[in-house]
């Protein structure tokens, strides 16, 4: 999202419409990236339930991966996974 200049934003820090958090891509904060080991996943959906940024992608009750626009790499999904199917890896490993 391109950042706006001071003449183009509401005054007083007001957010002038609902649902705007969608435009804020918290994925840019990420230092650790979750990696799904599909062979271990039991589709219990704990990760989906716990993710604070709705960044777990699911289809018809099946875990399908992560939405990296919003995943900020907090690791909560890996922590709650009973099958240890999510591994947190440094973003530096994915450079290039």
């Amino acid at each position: 999202m391109a950042l706006k200049g001071w003449k183009d934003i509401p005054i007083g820090g007001v957010i002038d419409e609902p649902g705007k958090a969608r435009e804020y891509k918290t994925g840019t904060w990420r230092v650790l990236r979750p990696v799904l080991h599909e062979d271990k996943c039991i589709h219990c959906m704990f990760c989906w339930l716990y993710c604070p940024d709705l960044a777990i992608v699911q289809e018809q009750g099946k875990m399908k991966g992560f939405d990296f626009d919003y995943c900020k790499g907090c690791g909560l999904c890996a922590n709650v996974c009973p099958a240890k199917a999510i591994e947190m890896k440094p973003e530096t490993e994915f450079l290039k």
């Binding site: 950042l3 706006k4 001071w6 934003i9 509401p10 005054i11 007083g12 820090g13 957010i15 609902p18």
Partner: protein, 392 residues
């Protein structure tokens, strides 16, 4: 254009409360503190007698008072409060938030010395501690001005190009408790002048939900501060228009500053608040003896009307600045601002700084005369801090 109105003998506090009654704000949240107390007392009586529609919230502290008016103003209400000294200091956190959130709150501040040691009398240390909070600041000379500028402040604060809170500073006891004749305008004239509030982003507009006070980090906070700087600059353009409308409506003229016998004045004193009345007396006294002296009374201290002050002071022989507060370790606030305004002047006048009246110490005509005489005798030394009425 002179207009004739009913005159009543009122204290400054009563005049301010009467202005608030005529403004009829939606919400007043206040906590009593000497010497602001009579404003709250008089206004609470108007509420109890059903003379206003105001929701009055008696809160448990000034921090809560300012918090409540911030919430009310964000909801879309016209909201007011009043305070003094340590009450203002306790508010400080929310004073800054009110301006940063761009809420057009109007707050009479009855100026009183900050503790310690504890003191209930007048100086400007309370308001000066808030001079960088983002509020517009007026300082008044007498009860009439306290009444007038409280009314004017509502219109200025709520202007779409301003949207900033306003402090109307009146000297504790000297103005707040001193009785003077005050011309009171008819209710309908005041009601017409202040108009209906036109809130921006009111929280109560549930069709258009908004968020107030969200987290604002390094990506946007800076831009929001730039907007506040712009709004203060806009005050310099909007205030003359609001003052002109005030004059058309009520027949009284206001400006950033008042010029008293300045046309041919070689020596000019600059001051804030009620002391200006005493200075006018001394100017007349010295004029009778043939000395070309005058007074520059500063009505608006924030935003600081630098350009106008500079144009008035350029070419004078001497400028004497009186401050009723200290800035420990630096120049006192008014002197610093005046000195800064003269930086670009081609010919700078001799400049002198005098601190007076801290903690309510009386300022006498003879002391003011002595400061004028320093200027007349070529005895102003820039940056030499002098004191009036202090025992060595």
């Amino acid at each position: 254009m002179e207009k004739v109105y009913e005159k009543k003998a009122l204290t400054g506090a009563e005049a301010v409360a009467y202005a608030m009654k005529q403004i009829n704000p939606d919400v007043v949240a206040a906590y009593p503190i000497t010497p602001q107390t009579p404003i709250v007392e008089y206004f609470a009586k108007f509420v109890a007698d059903g003379e206003v529609d105001t929701e009055m919230i008696p809160v448990e502290s000034e921090h809560s008072a300012m918090s409540a008016v911030v919430g009310a103003a964000a909801a879309g209400a016209r909201a007011m409060t009043a305070t003094s000294a340590n009450g203002l200091a306790l508010m400080h956190e929310i004073v800054y938030i009110a301006a940063s959130t761009r809420l057009p709150i109007v707050m009479p501040v009855v100026n009183r010395a900050l503790s310690a040691p504890i003191n209930i009398h007048c100086d400007h240390s309370d308001a000066m501690a808030e001079r960088d909070s983002g509020w517009i600041q007026f300082y008044v000379e007498n009860n009439q001005e306290a009444y007038d500028l409280t009314i004017l402040a509502v219109k200025l604060a709520e202007h779409e190009d301003v949207r900033l809170p306003v402090m109307v500073n009146l000297d504790g006891f000297i103005i707040s408790h001193g009785v003077e004749p005050v011309e009171l305008y008819p209710d309908d004239l005041v009601k017409g002048f202040v108009g209906e509030p036109k809130p921006l982003y009111p929280l109560l507009d549930t069709e258009h939900p908004v968020t107030y006070g969200p987290l604002d980090l390094y990506d946007y906070y800076f831009e929001h501060k730039r907007q506040q700087i712009e709004a203060m600059d806009n005050v310099k353009k909007i205030f003359p228009k609001v003052a002109e409308e005030f004059e058309r409506t009520f027949g009284k003229k206001y400006d950033f500053v008042e010029q008293y016998k300045l046309d041919d004045a070689d020596y000019v004193m600059v001051a804030l608040g009620s002391t200006n009345s005493t200075i006018k007396y001394v100017v007349d006294w010295l004029r009778e003896e043939g000395f070309k002296v005058g007074l520059l009374k500063v009505w608006m201290f924030r935003p600081f009307p630098k350009e106008q002050i500079q144009s008035i002071l350029v070419g004078r022989k001497g400028v004497i600045v009186l401050d009723r507060s200290a800035s420990f370790g630096a120049e006192p606030p008014l002197y610093e601002a005046i000195k800064s305004a003269l930086y670009e002047a081609a010919v700078r006048p001799a400049l002198g700084s005098y601190i007076y009246g801290l903690g309510g110490r009386d300022i006498k005509a003879e002391e003011i005369r002595k400061a004028f005489e320093d200027a007349i005798n070529g005895n102003l030394i820039v940056d030499e801090q002098r004191f009036l009425g202090l025992r060595e």
